[in-house]
């Protein structure tokens, strides 16, 4: 035991005067100085208990984790990666443990993504230790696993604001810190961006390192191969770290248990890790060499070498063929290994592109996460000691769930209905569909482009494919929508969840543009439900539209509480027909989608001012309800179109029609209410709506402004809380 003599008095004093917090720390660290166990905080735990006042870090009964934040003496000294440079590997391990507990406690207070961050704690520590950010570029493809990275790069004190208005973003963001080299949120982009940074460095003649961390799930996307192919060709020095935790789809589990990885790539990666056949082979080889014996030494050595050659050859050829030098697999939770490999690669000049295959475990280090099927991928606030999440209760369910139920009801009636999603079984609700119709639900991995064309192929065969892709991710598949689906008029149905502002996830996941890019396509039917009952009907409508593509968008969040159609079976709507909800005069609000609810709220606000507004739900953006719009334009002074989308969407189509129909030549004043021409930062949904100017108060103020009653407009805006 390597103990210094000076520790003795400290121990004595600690035993004698247990309530002296200052002396308790040296005792703990000296006692455990020689041992390599990561439980320093535990011993401090005991000391802390004896403090007369202050933080109690105690283990509650039956709990498997601390109930309050353990002390993090080493992490407290690290504000930036440069402070880590003098640490020994043993201290790095302690740092990793402290960092892990810090992540857990931060996420328990704010909610957010947990499992993925826990899996890369050691990797983050090793990367920042070996490399010199921000000069060396470290890119995180999985933006939401950057929590440990943010803690180590000067943002620890702001972690309590994670994903909140004006707080830290839940993903990497260039505007937030110089250590975030590239904003990620859509996956599979870091190799491309990293290659760009490497080439830029080469053109400028500089010498820094570029490291791109990418997950095995992100490897199912085509862009990763496009990037690797190009990287192999250009032969620029860069490091790609493949973080392999065998989790390809999200959430990491479906309703009945963990999801086995989709795709052939995952089995190739597992083969790289598996040792059984290798060991067998080596044992056989050893047996053979034993029999061959002494004089045949050379032959024996050759047999062994062949065995080894066959071992390292399997599977890594995929990356080698693309031109990346393969190293691995490496235990991603062993800081020793990680640091030595990274140092070696860093100090080797002229490596070209190198791929380090690191194997980690999602949720590692937090027993509840390790055991959970979904590895605590995304959580709300929870109790660290018991792992129980504080899920709020709501009277209504989410639009996602309603969509899944509607689709199941349609699929019960029609056996041709199939569902496709891109590694988002939970997020799109299709895990429910999968459970009911296991043969008719397709998860293609993170491959939206393929999903759309795959759906087109299914439609060619007379099936009725429903593609459930988030509005934001649909951007990836736009050419396929235009060229493969719309141009050929194939009846593919697009269910775009997370339309409009999405709250804590921020602009990377915001579905602002889908109305614009869908409604400009000649053959597409574009509709949006204003509540959950309408959603059921629109699913039915989409199922019934069999001669052209169709799409519908719905927001994040829960339903408003209207009555659902019996048996979850909607009734197809008449295409191109909207509905009037409130009959009024002078001013008409024509809403599209969830904005209709804001219009109704604005109308009730204005009642107290003596204004009776007309509120209408357009339902369809394409084809527009021409008669409704003509009616509204002819009988009202003011027509305001409201949508939670960017310019070029619903309002623009209405304006186009009004102009072409000569309605703008009369007395009606048309005004649009759309998302502003800038990206709305993450925050609570209410904050975001206020920031975007789409709250009922804003709509009411707009009404007053158009009517020339500026004072009342100001009054409404200042009286809202």
């Amino acid at each position: 035991m390597a103990l210094c003599a000076c520790s003795f008095p400290a121990i004595v004093s600690c035993c004698a005067a247990a309530s002296e917090p200052q002396k308790s720390t040296p005792f703990a660290s000296h006692l455990l100085g020689g041992s390599d166990l990561g439980f320093h905080p535990l011993l401090k735990l005991n000391q802390v208990k004896k403090r007369p006042c202050g933080v109690y870090a105690s283990l509650s009964e039956g709990a498997e984790y601390y109930s309050s934040r353990p002390a993090t003496p080493l992490l407290d000294t690290i504000n930036y990666p440069i402070h880590m440079k003098n640490l020994s590997v043993k201290e790095l391990k302690q740092l990793a443990d402290e960092l892990r507990s810090d992540v857990i406690f931060n996420v328990s207070k704010t909610g957010g993504h947990l499992g993925s961050s826990l899996g890369v704690v050691e990797l983050t520590v090793a990367l920042h230790y070996v490399f010199n950010a921000p000069r060396d570029k470290i890119l995180w493809d999985v933006g939401h696993q950057s929590y440990p990275h943010k803690i180590l790069t000067g943002r620890r004190d702001k972690m309590h604001t994670m994903r909140q208005t004006n707080g830290l973003a839940g993903f990497t963001k260039r505007a937030e810190s110089e250590y975030d080299c590239f904003g990620t949120g859509h996956s599979s982009t870091t190799i491309s961006a990293g290659l760009g940074m490497a080439v830029g460095r080469d053109l400028k003649g500089e010498r820094n390192n570029v490291v791109a961390v990418i997950g095995d799930g992100a490897m199912t996307a085509g862009q990763a191969y496009e990037a690797m192919n190009n990287a192999g060709y250009l032969d620029s020095d860069m490091i790609v770290i493949l973080n392999d935790n065998k989790q390809v789809s999200l959430p990491t589990a479906n309703l009945d248990g963990p999801i086995p990885p989709v795709g052939a790539l995952s089995s190739a990666l597992s083969r790289l890790q598996s040792n059984r056949p290798l060991r067998e082979l080596r044992e056989v080889a050893k047996g053979v060499t034993k029999q061959i014996g002494g004089p045949m030494h050379e032959l024996a050595a050759k047999v062994d070498e062949y065995a080894r050659g066959m071992i390292s050859g399997s599977g890594s050829t995929l990356f080698e063929e693309l031109g990346l030098y393969y190293i691995g697999p490496v235990d991603g939770h062993n800081i020793d290994d990680l640091v030595s490999i990274l140092k070696e690669v860093k100090t080797t000049k002229t490596t070209g592109p190198v791929l380090i295959h690191v194997v980690t475990e999602k949720g590692r280090g937090y027993p509840y996460a390790e055991r959970a099927d979904d590895k605590y991928h995304g959580v709300v606030k929870f109790d660290p000691a018991t792992g129980k999440q504080f899920k709020g209760s709501s009277v209504t369910q989410s639009y996602t769930t309603y969509f899944a139920e509607a689709l199941i009801a349609e699929a019960e009636a029609d056996k041709n209905i199939v569902a496709i999603h891109a590694a988002m079984g939970g997020g799109t609700g299709l895990n429910l569909f999968l459970r009911r119709f296991p043969q008719r639900c397709f998860d293609v991995g993170i491959a939206e482009q393929h999903a759309v064309t795959f759906a087109a192929g299914l439609a060619c065969e007379g099936l009725k494919p429903f593609c459930a892709i988030y509005s934001s991710f649909m951007q990836r598949a736009y050419d396929q929508v235009v060229h493969d689906v719309d141009l050929q008029k194939l009846p593919v149905r697009f269910a775009m969840d997370r339309a409009g502002l999405v709250g804590a996830d921020g602009p990377t996941h915001c579905g602002a543009f889908d109305v614009t890019f869908m409604a400009c396509l000649p053959n597409m039917v574009v509709m949006a439900p204003s509540d959950e009952a309408e959603l059921f009907h629109m699913v039915a409508t989409a199922a019934a539209i069999d001669d052209r593509p169709s799409c519908f968008r719905y927001p994040r969040g829960n339903g408003i509480g209207v009555q659902l159609p019996p048996g979850n079976k909607g009734v197809p709507l008449e295409i191109g027909k909207g509905r009037v909800l409130i009959e009024g005069e002078r001013v008409a609000l024509l809403g599209y989608g969830s904005a209709v609810q804001s219009c109704l709220a604005a109308a009730s606000l204005l009642e107290s001012y003596g204004l009776q507004l007309t509120v209408a739900d357009a339902r369809f953006c394409k084809p527009l309800d021409h008669s409704l719009i003509r009616e509204l334009a002819k009988s009202h002074e003011v027509l305001i179109t409201v949508e939670e989308g960017s310019i070029g969407g619903f309002g623009s189509h209405v304006a186009q029609f009004l102009a072409l129909d000569g309605l703008l030549d009369g007395k009606v004043k048309w005004r649009p209410v759309v998302l502003p021409d800038r990206y709305i930062d993450h925050g609570s949904p209410a904050d975001q709506l206020a920031e975007a100017g789409l709250t009922p108060s804003h709509i009411a103020a707009t009404v007053f402004n158009v009517l020339g009653q500026k004072r009342e407009a100001l009054g409404i805006m200042s009286s809202r809380n």
């Binding site: 121990i11 166990l37 535990l42 009964e61 003649g205 071992i311 030098y325 290994d337 080797t348 190198v354």
Partner: protein
């Protein structure tokens, strides 16, 4: 991953038989054949005698086999403080240190849920192997995995270094190689 493979995906006729939980009658010397166990078999047999005399980790910590993690931690802390070489009576330092180390090992095993599970399984088989032999036997498979991986990437690293020596030699006209040569030349000029 190692954890998933261990004990579950075992091949027939080898590990599986050893680890199947057949209690009571299973006395190692009789049923285990050296050729069946892949590694460390002779070491194991040598240690078996020792093993039978050893107290289990639970006994050493003074807790029942159903001890919860907090109990284990508490017991460890108490014992660690008692047997720490610094506080042991000077004439019994050797003995106390040895106990300290054992207590430490007991804690290390029992506090890690995975290792605890394996240890419990062993105990049910009537197997408690002493300190180092046990470690070698128990975790040989994991270590084999680990050392297999380590060997592999060490080989790969040396190969990388070897390749990098000749990488940008004359013939290589990749874009990256050209840029690197250019950079070298520029830095030489400076």
């Amino acid at each position: 991953m190692m954890r998933c493979g261990y004990g579950l995906a075992a091949l027939p006729g080898t590990d599986a038989r050893l680890f199947s939980p057949e209690p009571s009658f299973l006395r190692l010397p009789r049923t285990v054949h050296p050729t069946r166990i892949k590694f460390g078999s002779f070491k194991i047999r040598a240690k078996i005698g020792e093993a039978r005399k050893e107290t289990s980790f639970y006994d050493m910590l003074g807790i029942s086999e159903k001890g919860t993690l907090p109990e284990i931690k508490q017991a460890y802390k108490q014992l660690a403080r008692k047997y720490h070489p610094d506080v042991s009576p000077p004439d019994r330092v050797e003995e106390y240190t040895e106990r300290f180390i054992r207590v430490q090992e007991a804690y290390e095993t029992l506090s890690d849920p995975r290792r605890k599970a394996l240890y419990d399984k062993d105990l049910a088989l009537g197997l408690h192997l002493a300190f180092s032999a046990r470690r070698r036997y128990q975790f040989d498979e994991e270590l084999e995995d680990q050392s297999e991986w380590r060997n592999r990437w060490q080989t790969q690293l040396s190969e990388l270094k070897r390749r990098s020596m000749s990488r940008d030699a004359g013939g290589n006209m990749s874009w990256g190689a050209r840029m690197r040569r250019q950079r070298e030349e520029q830095s030489k000029q400076v």
